[in-house]
């Protein structure tokens, strides 16, 4: 993931991830020392857990114009990880909580100049990706002002390292109503290059969280975690099934008419259009990142609990995306399900004890 981040977003992404990781480790270690002193115990100097969550947060954020973002995020994460997480009473993934706090909280504040400036200062991101000839070595900030609509692979621009592209997550959420109302809208978005091609989305050549733009890469990493028994394939399948079910059943009003499930509205797009729309909705979102990387480390201990947790997680990710029409809103789902992860452990009962 770090290699993919550096490939598509250059050294700026690498620096951002490194800054997030270092500040997480520093804050985590400082808090650990304070807590250990208060409790009179010894502590480990550098925790591999802090390194892992710091990297995960760095990889889960888009490239910010302001490098204060990774530092603030890392410092906050280092502190938050002592209160929530897999080993704590509140089993909310600290990275999910940080992403919600950083990206969603300012947007949920009532409109005010301070909200706008806070949001801008912290979360201003670069909607660009390096061109195929400038991978690893280019500067992602060196992008032209106009939007690029050509296929990424055939792009060649000797003057700029990067190309400005639309974020497929935002496009699909913004255009959802229009796509479901007008059958030709999806075709137009794809043919005009307003929506990046699916193969480009699959390999990650699109703006978004630096290390998590490629669902293929995340799925491969998820499979490796399953091989190590750190994640469960059942939970992943259930989460995707629930996400699909919610995406298809979500009520929509095509053309401002009667409410109907999305599945019915999709009929007019034809099978290929329907599959394309649902694929963009699910794979352009942080669903894979949440299901494969965040959820397994804070899921309930029992199989029954994991089933409920996975279903809720998948369903809530899509519900949050559709309600708030913002990709970061997806992280509300692991935060909410994390709150009930521990109570869900109680679903595990021994047949020996009646």
């Amino acid at each position: 993931m770090l290699a993919a981040a550096t490939a598509y977003f250059g050294s700026r992404a690498l620096i951002a991830v490194a800054l997030t990781t270092v500040s997480t480790v520093v804050a985590y270690t400082l808090f650990a020392c304070v807590l250990a002193t208060l409790r009179g115990r010894r502590t480990r100097f550098i925790s591999p857990y802090a390194i892992w969550i710091g990297m995960l947060l760095g990889l889960g954020m888009p490239v910010a114009e302001n490098l204060a973002l990774p530092i603030i995020a890392g410092l906050l994460l280092g502190a938050v990880a002592h209160v929530v997480g897999r080993s704590h009473r509140v089993r909310v993934h600290p990275v999910a909580l940080m992403l919600v706090i950083l990206f969603l909280a300012p947007n949920l504040l009532p409109d005010s100049p301070s909200r706008v400036s806070l949001s801008r200062a912290i979360t201003q991101t670069v909607p660009a990706v390096l061109g195929p000839g400038r991978l690893f070595i280019g500067d992602v900030n060196d992008a032209p002002d106009q939007l690029n609509t050509e296929p990424w692979l055939s792009h060649h621009d000797a003057d700029h390292d990067a190309l400005r592209r639309t974020d497929p997550q935002l496009v699909i959420l913004d255009e959802r109503q229009a796509i479901l109302s007008r059958p030709d809208r999806l075709r137009y978005l794809l043919s005009s290059g307003m929506l990046v091609r699916f193969e480009e989305l699959a390999i990650g050549a699109a703006p978004g969280p630096v290390g998590a733009t490629s669902p293929v890469l995340i799925i491969l990493l998820g499979l490796y975690l399953m091989y190590l028994r750190l994640a469960s394939w059942r939970s992943a399948v259930l989460a995707f099934a629930a996400a699909l079910a919610v995406a298809l059943l979500w009520p929509v009003q095509p053309n401002g008419g009667a409410w109907q499930p999305t599945a019915l509205a999709l009929v007019q797009l034809g099978p290929a259009g329907a599959v394309t729309f649902v694929s963009y909705l699910l794979f352009a979102s942080p669903l894979c990142f949440i299901v494969f990387l965040l959820a397994p480390s804070v899921d309930p201990m029992s199989r029954r609990g994991r089933t409920v947790y996975a279903l809720l997680n998948g369903g809530l990710v899509v519900a949050a995306l559709l309600i708030f029409a913002a990709p970061e809103a997806a992280f509300i789902a692991p935060v909410l399900t994390g709150l009930i992860s521990r109570p869900l452990d109680a679903l595990h009962k021994s047949p020996f004890v009646s």
């Binding site: 080993s87 201990m301 994991r306 521990r342 595990h348 021994s350 020996f352």
Partner: protein, 442 residues
Amino acid sequence: MAKLRGGMDFRSGTAVTLPPPPDRAAGDTLRITCPGPPTPAEGRPIAAGDRLYTADHEHAPHLTCPIAATVDALIPWPGADDPRVDVVLTPTVEAVAGALALDPPSKTDPDAWREALRDTGPWPQPRLGPDLVTQLRRGRDRPLDRLICVGLDNFPPYPDRSSIIKSFLDDVILGTQILGQIAEARRAYLIIDPKIATAGRLRPICRSLGVRLRTTPNVYPCADPTMLIHQHGGGRRKLPHGADPTTVGVALVTPWTAARIARWLTRGKLDLLQPVLLAWPSPGRVLTPLFAFPGQPLAMLDPALAGRADELANRAVFGDPMTGHAPDAPIRRGQRLPPTLPHGQHLISVLPAAGRAPVAPCISCGWCVDVCPTRLRPIHLVQRLERQADDPDARRHLDYCIDCGLCSHVCPSSIPIAQTLRELRSVSGELRTVNDEVKRAE
């Protein structure tokens, strides 16, 4: 169960063919542990078959002397409340018989059998509950519904019981039938792994002798009494860990007990040597099957087992590498003696040299929950009992922790969950009594 961390999948291994018990064995000095003060005095001669220890309880088995010898020394175990005494027997001949020439009781007289079994004790049933004599006696007070000969291995992949079935096939089935009659159980069962090579041959013999054959995949810890009775108890019977199976109407016996009974009846000789498997950690040398007298020094079984009990503590265990216990011995002249083979101990595991990973906080991965055979939540149980040791609900759950050690084995944070539960269990007086009884029987 999927392959677990540590490289073991705890599935059945390949049964080995044991050599036939030798008729005569070298006359080595034996040191036999008696549960209380021995019958013979120091310096006295004793004949093979004489009583070495007389049980004070009328239902408990006595202890028979296996060889003609002189009682060289009586060594009490340390500790004011430990009644055990080791008897050192120096044989009077160079070669001793491996079996005792003794007429078996009539096949149809359960009372005569019970008495004969008591006289020829101790008949331990390692890891299956109290000894045979105690189970049969309790079965008289509370009629037994079924007698089960457990052919499943204690610790797959080490084939301790399946090797005995493979080597003494007919004897095990005949012995199970006889034991069913002695116990006056309504049905006698033999439970084996379906993959055991001899399963096809077993079926017709079992049918002809009226022994019911049941198969169950031999995956650790399926041979534990709590698990067995849950699966083969024929209903809603539940047996807490370490409790006597006769309390739920079931007697459990090992294949070696059944084979010994049948061989006694058919040959007129009672085997005194017991089969032992030495399990090695190296892939090239996995098992060494042999026969040995109880009380024989471990060094006589293999030179790798030479040393005092405290020196061997990290090198070998009685039982399996996960739940076995370190060899122990009394102290003489300020030093622990070398350990000897206990009655009924069929497996000795030589341990690999491995360090313990440092303990880290629980990461709630749930592996311990997934792996727990009785479907407890091990780490939650530890946390609840550490908060409140007498929490009645947690205690009820603790009764069904079968001390299999799997939770500790899989824990990525190296938390000694099973060991902690074992310690917490010993706080409960009631369970300690039952456990001690089982341990004594082992």
